[in-house]
Symmetry: C2
Subunit: 83 residues, 2 copies
Amino acid sequence: MINVHVYITLKEGVLDPQGQAVQRSLTALGYDEVDTVSVGKWLKLEMSDGADVESRVEQMCEQLLANPVIENYTYYVEREEKV
Amino acid sequence: MINVHVYITLKEGVLDPQGQAVQRSLTALGYDEVDTVSVGKWLKLEMSDGADVESRVEQMCEQLLANPVIENYTYYVEREEKV
């Protein structure tokens, strides 16, 4: 089994109300040093390895995990080192 | 300004209905190789640097960003290399 870490973020220019709400709350709590907050999703997929893992993960992202209109995705595959 | 990347994940043993829902959807779409999905949050804080950045970020996590009962958090500070 391998772990694939997928990071989903909003595209540049897309409004981030969640990030704005967190930033306002941090300021209200006295953390004035925080200028901007961006909020995104992180998914860890535990899955079986295969030659086409990368293309399968990209299909999953484009088909379900990320909204291609407003979101970007990046991922990396974590394979156990064979000792 | 610096960027602080905060990753918030559910603690071991805490039910992850969102992860289960994503996993079921992936299976329904034919991605049988995916065994388990864990869903978490990723936040990027753009903030001013300071000697106590680490302790301030930990306070923000414990006070607002992560729910200490069911969530773990990790973070790393991304500072621009001074050339």
